[in-house]
Symmetry: C2
Subunit: 283 residues, 2 copies
């Protein structure tokens, strides 16, 4: 039986994003992965390193009742790493030293000391800070960095807190989040491809897209202008989410054929993208 | 006299952003420009092509009372271009044909027809759609594309709606938004530079950053790890916003000197970035 796909919200934390210093590639990477798994992303919110702002944003997201909220950034040792403080405040919890997290952090510094030929690297307060988690939270091992990721449940919503450093974020995602998200998605599959169109203005395509979407209610067609209206070149992105990959391919195929026919009737030229994306083809 | 800088919120509209197909370079570009003008961006919200979702997001943003809300995406001729419908709903307004906007759209198609050697390009409903604005709104000329931008006021908040195509977004920003934002910012100036540090772990830098920020309450220092903790390399980003550029430079300079001293005491090496950014140096 078909069911509504479970939704994801992404919360990107960091002043560097709000001043335009850093491009939010983390959100795109997460959105692509979640979508490929059949879990649609409903919203991405980018906020600064501010406890109140983080707490408010998490609370707002929890109220929209997604299955998962994934935060990135703010897990490190410095004063401005405030993700966990904000999450704890949102969930009316307190930060306390999590013994499992402390062991993870400690093991890292033992290893770093060995590698650097030092006798010992002290567990100073900034280092212990990375093991201070909301009371009910579970730490997630960080295979490539120091700060553990964090998972904490609030009612039906699971909040995952990941570091902002892309390699660490991706590594924790693949190790700890992927199995959970796959299980939650069940057999949902996202399938997409693109049709490139030249010789027709986007404004001329509009009624055609309307018709094709009406005739194919389970596929979504979105036009992206590549050139300007006067020298038109369009990408038509066609996608569907379903539980059966063969159904997905049939749906997208049928939509493609109808689009191509109608476009040719209007005197346009088409080219099908060689790229298709499936839940099983995670980059 | 010093005053709180006016804030900006960015709302990025488009399913392509939520499925990870498109990287949100528009938000970064706008964030960089706004910050450079001395207008801090408080939040970026990314949502899909859904009228209810757009309306709700705009209402939430209006309630946080920024000076400006800038939306990108959803202004084109197709069914899924829903920005103005969402904004109208948020502001309890209705979409009606705006005569000035209709003239702008019409002129474009007269020009396109000439350029393509056609007698006439009809103003079909999808084309007229681009001239349907919230009742109190003003159209903003689009120098490089077809759909006009839109400006509409709600209480003390001005909402600017820009297209999602980057060249059109940038062009309308420079033509119509820049003068308004500059006037609103007054003499606010954002000044930033970076200090690169090697040989010290981020967790070891944490107390140093705390001390320097305590001694320099008007500058903001944020550490960005470049390497991993075990082979540490850090970027310390130092920034300030003020009304006097000489004050800004003095503040950042003083912070830099103290940071370099303390880092050298700890055995670390530093290198100052050659890039500084000022409100007067818009890229």
């Amino acid at each position: 039986m078909s069911s509504m796909p479970k939704e994801i919200e992404i919360v990107s934390i960091g002043n560097e994003l709000l001043i335009g210093k850093t491009l939010n590639t983390n959100a795109q990477w997460l959105a692509k992965r979640a979508t490929s798994l059949g879990l649609p992303v409903r919203r991405v919110t980018v906020i600064g390193d501010d406890v109140e702002e983080i707490a408010k944003t998490i609370q707002e997201a929890v109220h929209r009742n997604p299955a998962f909220i994934i935060t990135t950034g703010g897990l490190g040792p410095t004063f401005d790493d405030k993700a966990l403080e904000g999450i704890a405040q949102a969930l009316h919890s307190k930060l306390t030293i999590n013994e499992e997290a402390l062991r993870m952090v400690e093991e890292k510094y033992v290893k770093y000391a060995e590698e650097r030929g030092q006798a010992k690297i002290e567990l100073t307060p900034p280092r212990i800070k990375m093991a201070k988690l909301p009371a009910e939270a579970k730490p997630l091992p960080n295979p490539v960095g120091t700060a553990p990721g964090v998972a904490v449940k609030e009612d039906d919503v699971t909040v995952f807190a990941l570091p902002g450093v892309p390699s660490e974020m991706k590594s924790i995602f693949d190790t700890s989040l992927l199995p959970v998200l796959k299980a939650a998605a069940g057999d949902q599959t996202f399938f997409e491809t693109s049709l490139y169109v030249t010789g027709i203005m986007e404004s001329e395509m509009a009624p055609t897209i309307d018709k094709v979407m009406h005739d194919n209610p389970h596929t979504y067609v979105k036009s992206h202008p590549i050139g300007a209206e006067k020298k038109p070149s369009l990408e038509l992105h066609i996608s569907t989410t379903t539980e059966d990959i063969e159904v997905a391919k049939r749906r997208v195929g049928k939509t493609l054929i109808q689009l191509e026919e109608l476009i040719r009737e209007k005197g346009g030229k088409t080219q099908i993208s060689k790229k298709e994306r499936l839940s099983t083809q995670l980059e």
